[in-house]
């Protein structure tokens, strides 16, 4: 019963931090993909492994942004009770930005150079 009571009191901050970081990571993929479509020179700057091309940078940047954001937000929200609905709404908006930014008919609208 003690365990249950302790778990019941768990603050929502850490989970809110993970959800928000997930949204930020997804949005990072969408933004980087769209920027790479808009600028060939930016795309080439992401080709860290030539055989893989710009997808190297796009995938690694979004992964690093996700884990870094999670780390920062985790320590910021740790042990705290936050406005969960607000955080979830922001996370979902960021998730949608990620989905939109990785959708070819969308990012090709910005194709330049």
């Amino acid at each position: 019963m003690m365990d249950r009571a302790t778990e019941q009191d768990k603050p929502n901050g850490p989970v809110a931090a993970a959800l928000l970081a997930g949204g930020i990571g997804a949005a990072a993929m969408g933004v980087v993909t769209t920027l790479a479509a808009a600028s060939e020179s930016f795309a080439q700057s992401l080709a860290w492994i030539p055989a893989v091309g710009p997808l190297t940078g796009k995938s690694l940047v979004s992964t690093i942004v996700f884990f870094l954001a999670w780390l920062v937000l985790h320590f910021r929200f740790r042990g705290k009770e936050v406005n969960f609905n607000q955080i979830v709404t922001i996370s979902l908006v960021l998730l949608v930005i990620g989905l939109l930014g990785t959708f070819p008919p969308f990012f090709e609208l910005f194709a330049g150079e």
Partner: protein, 177 residues
């Protein structure tokens, strides 16, 4: 009964890792959806949570394995540029697709979407695995949190499914050999 190393990696990436993730989704979603105190006993809840935690972390790891093998092992073979003057493009799937207007959209739309959107799946799946582990059985009494976690779980599935479906079609039309 021979299979090349490239075909083997493609099978590992798509048929083992990718398909395993998609197949596990139904079980995971059912587990999350039915995580309600009025539907299960305390003993049932504890037994289910252990299974759910293992299942979610396995799915997250499999999702990472899928995108890493896909991007860094299989994808370079797909996008390899043929030497000047090559007329047989069968070993260069990207250029084979782009060589004909009837197949070019499989690259321009299908592959371009797949290679990017797929990376959202492991991110979302990792968030779900962490949240399930953090709350444990208490998640059954937190409908708001459970709903948010389920949305991320569905997002992980949808993005993986887009990648999986296009991957299967593209490998059918322009296989990696």
């Amino acid at each position: 009964m021979e299979i090349s190393a490239r075909e083997g990696w493609t099978v590992l990436h798509g048929m083992l890792f990718g398909a395993a993730f998609l197949l596990a989704f139904a079980g995971g979603l059912a587990g999350l959806y039915s995580l309600r105190p009025e539907w299960i006993t305390l003993e049932g809840l504890q037994e289910r949570m252990a299974r759910l935690k293992i299942g979610m972390w396995t799915m997250a790891l499999v999702a990472w394995a899928t995108v890493i093998t896909g991007t860094f092992i299989v994808y370079p073979w797909y996008r390899a540029r043929p030497p000047e003057g090559t007329t047989d493009l069968s070993a260069f799937p990207r250029y084979l697709l782009l060589a004909s207007e009837s197949t070019a959209e499989w690259h321009r739309f299908g592959m371009e979407w797949k290679e990017h959107v797929a990376w959202i799946a492991p991110i979302a799946a990792t968030v779900v695995a962490y949240a399930v582990t953090y709350y444990g059985p208490v998640l059954a009494k937190k409908p708001n949190e459970r709903r948010a976690i389920m949305i991320f779980f569905v997002a992980a599935f949808v993005t993986a499914a887009i990648a999986g479906i296009f991957g299967a079609f593209i490998n059918k039309i322009a296989p990696i050999r």
